[in-house]
């Protein structure tokens, strides 16, 4: 298997954007190509979760390669719900690792803010099991069930969950590309309106537009993908025996660590999928970065803050950087890349190894990637 390197990274500002999705993807893709010093990649991987319904356009791989002036470059479009971006990184990784191509541009994005919120929730909610959806379950509803169960069995507290949002907003305030750039107080989070009891509005990520891109190469560059793994679980939540940890993250992390040949002890920085604040705590434990039952305390103690032992979501995470679905897994990769290259101005931490974790659906199709700075 060939080593796979990240030679370029780019992303748009996340938030409410007036541009079309192809324009956002072009902005991120061209920035990544420029960063890599490459004009024409050998292959293109495009991630978009549901542009058919959000924007009414289809045949998305061809739409994007034509829009980018790369119509002759072999292109595939990849989708694993909200983790589509990291699935695209994986597809590009596999392409180069197998020796099929030398350079691959991986781009992903979503455009949703032009659509009324209930309709956006409904479209995102299609990643839920159809039978369970007939009960009115939405992503926040399922996350509410997970959160209540985790509070009972893992002793997660409302204050610990609120602190995740406070920390990620503080980080987002330092990221010029973040959707939210205002800090929030723990009281504001704990008093925000109930969405899906016990989850409140400020525990939930926003609806964002945006795109992100990386250029993967067989030629050595500043950052290497040391390991990447996928984990899956049943689409039906009622088929699972455990609600409070995600088998899909655990399996993805094991696969990534095995490929990298090292464990969580070497990870110094992480971008985790905090679509709902408690998910950051669950993910910290599912990836083995913090022992089971300790993530909440560690967060309150500042261990995962920018100046902590293990900075988590230095970008602001899904909560503050924003969550344009298929852009997210790539944006996590971009953030870790910039951190490892010393380019995270205003929020730079010292690290040589970073972990990114992306959740698809209600943890039905998850990914973990390990990035390492070149020695």
């Amino acid at each position: 298997m060939n080593n796979v390197w990240i030679a370029g990274a780019g992303m748009t500002r996340f938030g409410r954007r007036d541009e079309t999705l192809p324009d956002l993807i072009a902005e991120a893709g061209l920035a990544a190509l420029l960063d890599a010093g490459i004009e024409r990649p050998d292959a293109l991987v495009v991630a978009a979760m549901n542009p058919e319904e959000f924007t009414g356009e289809g045949n998305y791989g061809s739409l994007i390669n034509t829009h980018l002036g790369l119509a002759q470059v072999p292109t595939v479009r990849v989708e694993t719900a909200t983790s589509s971006g990291m699935a695209a990184v994986y597809a590009g990784f596999a392409d180069i690792a197998a020796g099929l191509h030398r350079t691959v541009l991986v781009v992903g994005g979503e455009k949703m803010s032009h659509i009324p919120t209930p309709r956006v929730s409904e479209i995102i909610g299609r990643s839920i099991d159809p039978h369970e959806r007939t009960y009115g379950t939405t992503m926040p509803a399922l996350a509410g069930l997970v959160t209540r169960a985790a509070m009972q069995s893992r002793g997660l507290t409302l204050r610990e969950m609120a602190q995740v949002a406070v920390k990620n907003h503080a980080n987002g305030a330092r990221n010029p590309l973040a959707h939210f750039r205002e800090p929030v107080t723990i009281e504001a989070v704990m008093e925000s309106r109930l969405v899906a009891d016990p989850l409140r509005l400020f525990h939930c990520c926003p609806i964002s537009d945006g795109a992100a891109a990386v250029v993967l190469t067989a030629e050595p560059a500043a950052v290497r993908i040391a390991g990447i793994g996928q984990g899956t679980d049943t689409m039906a939540v009622r088929y699972r025996s455990d609600l409070t940890s995600f088998r899909a993250t655990q399996a993805a992390a094991q696969a990534a660590y095995k490929m990298a040949g090292f464990g969580p002890a070497r990870v110094e920085l992480a971008e985790l999928h905090d679509a709902f604040s408690p998910f950051e705590l669950i993910s910290l434990e599912d990836t083995g970065l913090i022992p089971v039952g300790k993530a909440g305390r560690a967060t309150l103690d500042g261990e995962t803050a920018l100046d902590g032992r293990l900075p988590v979501n230095t970008s602001g995470g899904l909560k503050a950087r924003g969550h344009p679905l298929a852009a997210t897994g790539i944006a996590q990769t971009v953030e870790i890349c910039w951190q490892l290259r010393g380019m995270a101005e205003g929020r730079q931490v010292q690290a040589r190894v970073g972990l990114a974790q992306s959740i698809g659906g209600l943890a039905t199709n998850n990914w973990v990637a390990l990035l390492e700075a070149r020695a």
């Binding site: 009960y135 509410g144 069930l145 209540r148 109930l194 969405v195 899906a196 009891d197 009622r238 609600l243």
Partner: protein, 143 residues
């Protein structure tokens, strides 16, 4: 209310039960067989949705229940007051939708009696139809 029998399916290989019936076992690519399971179980978790999707009214109470027979299912409920994770509940299917209701001591006693023999069976079926009548009345009143 008293236990209703709920349509399920069982994996002939691993004995796993799922509700509603499915074609294939979630753990094996094996065709499942029809089965039934009693509508009695425990709350695994629950939530109240304050901005439910189109077609539902707020507040929407949703619970995930683990039936004694082994399958888990999603249910709606009238309220979540007095409900905790681990609470015993009865589950009924009305027009193909599952509803949970808290099982008090009297319900559990009747269930026990029902299992005890034919005499119990008769009383149980009477109380069951009574409970259903009350439930239907309540649902109608709400809509």
């Amino acid at each position: 209310m008293i236990a209703q029998s709920i349509e399920a399916s069982r994996c002939p290989r691993c004995e796993r039960m799922v509700v509603p019936p499915a074609h294939y076992c979630p753990d094996h690519p094996v065709a499942m067989e029809p089965a039934t399971v009693a509508g009695v179980g425990e709350i695994v978790s629950f939530t109240t949705l304050h901005s439910p999707p189109e077609g539902f009214k707020a507040p929407l109470h949703i619970a995930l229940i683990e039936l004694k027979g082994g399958a888990r299912l999603f249910c709606h409920g009238q309220e979540t007051r007095g409900i905790k994770i681990g609470s015993s509940v009865g589950v009924e299917s009305l027009d193909g939708v599952f509803y949970f209701s808290h099982m008090g001591f009297a319900d559990r006693a009747r269930l026990f009696w029902r299992r005890a023999g034919a005499g119990g069976e008769k009383v149980a079926s009477i109380s069951k139809s009574l409970a259903k009548g009350i439930w239907r009345g309540r649902s109608r009143g709400d809509s």
